[in-house]
Amino acid sequence: MHLGLLKKGQKAVVESIEGEALENYLMRVGLVPGDLLELVAEAPFGDPLAVKVNGVKVAMRRHDAEKVAIQLTEA
């Protein structure tokens, strides 16, 4: 499952990030594989979307979010 499929309010653990450049971008702002994140907002058409991870809110475009593999946590 990838981050693009997460619904607002759902939480998930980041498993891996496809593409080294994107992985780099996300790790810089503090989104690291193994972290717990929550989808907190979506702009119209679901793009961009915003997640909260370690208390930081990060916005990204949908096509990037689809490269982030996640594991849904039990609610």
Binding site: E20, A21, L22, E23, N24, Y25, L26, M27, R28, V29, G30, V32, P33, V40, A41, E42, A43, P44, F45, D47, P48, A50, N54, G55, V56, K57, V58, A59, M60, R61, H63, D64
Partner: protein, 694 residues
Amino acid sequence: MKIALVGNPNSGKSSLFNALTGLRQKVGNYPGVTVDRKLGQFQLPNGTLVHLSDLPGTYNIYPKSEDEAVSAKVLMLPSHPERPDLVLLVADATNLRRSVLLCTQVMDMGLPVVLALNMVDLIGKQGLEKKVKVLMTQLGIPVVPVSARKGLGLDDLLQRLQEVPSPRPNPFFVVPSSFDAELAPFLDRLQTQNRYLAWQASLRPDLLDLDLAANQNSDKLVSNELAVRYERIQELLGEECLAAPSDSEKTTDNIDRWLMHPFWGYLGFAAVLVMIFQAIFAWSSLPMDWIDAGFSAAGSWLSAVLPDHFLTRLLVEGIWGGLGGIVVFVPQIAMLFLFISILEDSGYMSRVVFLMDRIMRPFGFSGKSVIPLIGGMACAVPSIMMARTIPDKNERLITILATPFMSCSARIPVYVLLISVFVPEGSQWGIFNLQGLVMAAMYLLGFAMALLVAFVIKTFRKPSIAAHFVAELPLYRLPRWNNVGITIYHKCRTFVVEAGKVILAISVVLWLLQQAGPESDMEAVAKRFEPQLAAVQQDSVLKAQVEAEYAGAQLQASYAGVIGRSIEPLIRPLGFDWKIGISLLSSFAAREVFVGTMATLYSAGDGAADDESGRFAKLREKMAAERNPTTGEPVYTLAVAMALLVFYAFAMQCLSTVAVVQRETKSWKTALGMLAYMTAIAYLSALATYHLFS
């Protein structure tokens, strides 16, 4: 002593810089790049003078933007002239993990570091002492809790900066020995023993202009390094120390529920936009009138006290007048940046980016293009500089090239003149004022052309799909008024200096072109008017009338008149005569000059100079009465007026903008190309408009 401020974006670095240096700061530019360089000074308690540089905010030492590259270079290159003696690392207490990551990188580079734990007012007293203690022992550096916004802890910080701590002997991240062979040439080239520095250089040799090949998979290696560091930080500091506080986060979440909402969020943004327009157009008009009146009063005074001489007129009409034309825009620019810096400082701006990104993208813009485009309605010059924050190169270029199509305030006087002459005052469908409708249409026209041009440029300068857009949405904070004030001051100063040089130079050249002309023609004009002028010396009303006619005749005979007439065949198809030609020519310095030139040409000038509206009415009257000498038809038909309006909407009649585009894109080709195609678009659209209405 040289100290560099290093920290993540939104860590409160600029607040600390302002708190430490006050107004003893300068904003310049780093050579070769369009990145603000902020330098300041302050004194330590022991009397040492500190040169503080505020390095651009950076998440880590591997840059992803021009801004971050500047910070990386200053810290990486052992021989860099700005290499600091000490790094003051600003850590966001509400987001420690990321700040500490940068801190460990800087420490591993062998630089002495003092950590300022900022925003401690947000995390509460409990746990703070423990946090500071854990950080001090685990990182092995001085840690000072501060709140730059509230001015807390600054004295303590100054005390700590007096002693330069020794660099930490064992690095947080040990470069694997399997890379020794790769590192050797870099160690040699940088003349350093520090393996981590060589490692960084091997990953990004481009930064240091080294002609050595980069390590392969450098992105992967960087990610690995970051992962190792994050893990190490977790081990060292522990969960409790890293935990983010939740109070201010809750407030932000509650606000975002509205401001990022798919419906209310846009409504909120629309309200903000309306307020910005109100500020730029309504609230700034009073100070603009004062400046206008002040400049003309001072000008009249100067010409009264100084001897009647060519140099006096050059000073009063050429230089002083040109200066007034620049300063008059300062209130609008101040208003624009008042709002922009409040929006940025409060954290709202990144929400705007979030809301607008998807909507702007089909046109080749990014969410960050919204602000330059809005700013373009005040003035394109500072707005184009704001496009610096757009990370993708092509999205930035598209924003820069589209912004000048937005109807800037210099176009307003031209629109007002033409609309008031040609559009009847009646109302449409009983509600809308017809003149107001046409004015609104002009704004829409400019915006539509901005979108169209962006769309066209996008087809061959495609924003790269690989460009990642990852933006942090920081916590909401109340804006810091001294930061807002300092931003406004710097932006206005930049505008006056940068745009001012160009406008002033051109207005002097144009003034000279209007004064001098082929000798025989100028003499003929003088011969005709001097006796008349002498005859009416006693009668002030008649004298003013003759003087105005004299000035008009002089302008016709001048070089500006000669050029205006010589371009007439070129503009004839648009329905423009040579008088409009002269006015077009003179508005190359600044569009609003059009009105003044027309007034001189139609001798509507000085006669009623005390009364602005009287002068304006007279010009309108004369323009409406103007007949073509051969056909007897009115010169200013509806078709001509519409063509002129369209021409002014699209033409690049602002050399300051051309200059700023050149500076921001580092390309004369781009700047001159823009001048060429904007002129072409203006010409062809005016041609089409003329035929449509005639």
